[in-house]
């Protein structure tokens, strides 16, 4: 399933992309070698991440220029806050951690840095500045899920993998990719790489990708 031409161009120009999508944490999910404690630590941080990431998608609703942009962003907020997050709540509940505890998780600096950077991308710029900062997480997880589903050698983290490899999540990635393509062409025209803004959008995407690497590093360091 295609994630759109803009996302593909941004990803291909981002040196840290493999460091993110093939990180040791990701490999540990695929071969089951990731310690359970690290996984739970990651899930708790990722719960807090999703709270603030949902806020950033809600910000996108406030910055949309068309009804379609608004509807897609609003649908993503709902998907994040009512569905994706359910995996975290369910898995942590099994481990005896309730949602109130999750919400009160002390946010690690690597976590805080990432979501606040994304929010500021939205506040300081327009919708496509925000989308460039949102893209690495949303679509990167789709790429990781698909890769792990095809290559995993252990079922220890099968629930996590199937969440992001699922048709439903892949559709979110596809829709977000299409939203980005539309929003970019609506603002930068048919040859977006020729726009003076292309470089800074690419830089936003690259910074968010580096912050993803930092997030996995943190995951391995409970």
């Amino acid at each position: 399933m295609s994630y759109g031409s803009t996302f593909t161009a941004w990803r291909d120009a981002t040196p840290a992309w493999p460091a993110y999508t093939r990180h040791a944490f990701v490999q540990g999910l695929g071969d089951g070698s990731l310690p359970r404690g690290a996984f739970l630590h990651y899930l708790k941080q990722d719960y807090v991440f999703l709270i603030h990431f949902s806020r950033a998608w809600a910000l996108a609703v406030t910055k949309a220029d068309t009804v379609e942009e608004m509807r897609l962003a609003a649908g993503t907020v709902n998907g994040l806050i009512n569905e994706e997050i359910a995996l975290h709540i369910k898995t942590c509940a099994k481990a005896g951690i309730d949602e109130e505890t999750l919400f009160a998780t002390e946010e690690r600096q690597e976590n805080l840095a990432y979501t606040r950077y994304v929010l500021d991308a939205g506040h300081s710029g327009d919708l496509i500045d925000l989308l460039a900062a949102l893209a690495p997480c949303v679509i990167g997880y789709g790429e990781i899920g698909t890769h792990l589903a095809a290559n995993k050698t252990s079922d220890t983290y099968a629930d996590w993998i199937s969440t992001y490899a699922s048709g439903e999540y892949q559709k979110v990635c596809h829709d977000v990719g299409a939203l980005i393509d539309g929003a970019v062409s609506r603002r930068l025209g048919s040859d977006p790489k020729a726009s003076p803004r292309w470089k800074s959008l690419q830089a936003r995407f690259a910074t968010a990708t580096k912050l993803e690497v930092g997030f996995w590093d943190m995951g391995l360091d409970p």
Copy 2:
């Protein structure tokens, strides 16, 4: 159905409340005397209003302090942009006006003043500043719908009336009232009227109510 103690206190202290909820436009909906042209003009402006009002509810998601506040605000955005607005789209479609035309409606000053005031209440203050500016529209329409359903003498605008009198819409009003009560007590404590902020929250609610009156006035002046 109760709309909560905070809303009740704000409404009861707002002199313009009856001018809003018993406006000539409202009476014209109830007795069918409102000219069809004025109704369609109002619906087109109200469509644009709902677009920006949804943006303001999305802003509320970014300003929530608890998961419950976030979920309720996110649900409201979805309700507005995918459900309430359907009445406008359907009614206008019957009159030969498609959604693209609706979206391109030139915004009247009375309309623009209202939604941008609400958005700025959110940007300049915290969640309860925003909720005080959002409340008159959401819950006021619930009050108007209930009143008209019980007192209408014509079925000309029965679709409009039943939308806002419906159990579904009343539940939205009830939930928003509860959201406001919770958000206020979480920030101002158990005796919110003793807070130095009460006066300015009350003033926000009153200003938004006056802007509602201006909106109905505009509705009668196609």
Copy 3:
């Protein structure tokens, strides 16, 4: 003194520009026929306008991409809040109205609509969306001041006229024009009219100009 090529293009494509810059209120300033009561009413509303307009310029500081953009926007905030506003405070003081009273002036809808629209232009878009909404007031007053200084037939409102005709204020207009030209070329390239965003920037400028006309209308209706 040139106000820049972008401003000139926006102004020349705005049908309401003469309705704004040659408004009956402006003519009344030039020939002294404007009633004193209307002038004081206008000054009080304009004081409140400048408060919110300064907030919009402060928002521009948060949305700048270069140090030069930041410095110019920060300097403008200071100029507005500490200098331009002094005319209002001084003139009103002579008429027995102190600053606390000015600050507590009840904002008219025409006033509120304008500043909140400008603030939302900034929050929903990027720096140039905001600048397109800020330009008609800042530079339009420069144009009006210059025109009245050359054509006035009365000295009744000479203080007002000389404030906006002064070299100091003209420099502000020139600097803001240069800021706009730079910010636009930095984001849209060397042929900004070819950008898909040009049309919406032009529309923002036109809407703000219409809101200026509404502000003068309000000025004549104390």
Copy 4:
């Protein structure tokens, strides 16, 4: 010179305060043991920090409720962007680093985390949420400067020390402390510690203080 009762209460309840104000980096400034390379690395990061910190102060202007709050916040933006930053530009210029290079410094994660956290405190809350996140840097540097001026054993970093120990900078700290006291009592009343918001304001101050510790750690790790 007093920095106000609110600041004092927040500082005294923040366990990480000594880790910030007596950090090894600070000691290295006082006894001259800090390597020049680390100092220049810090100055470059701090230049970028001040850019985003100025944006946060500009955001405060947009969230003020009184003219005094606005004027003080606007004055601080100007002070930061035109004066405090001059130390960085001058010192770096002597070391052959021009401002364009400074502006292009790649922002370290510890740096980015801090400023974006402060900006989000402002966007998600009201003025006092923002001030609680701004206070540790502004006033903490005043405390550090005063302490080092009285206790330094080397003149290697005398320029840095005298910048923050200067009467001019101490006045900024005093004014900001008074701004905080006023803004807090205006919103929370005469017994702010009894407000349900006190705990979260305290937590904001504590988080910003921890991010200061992270910033010094980064300074020692060029």
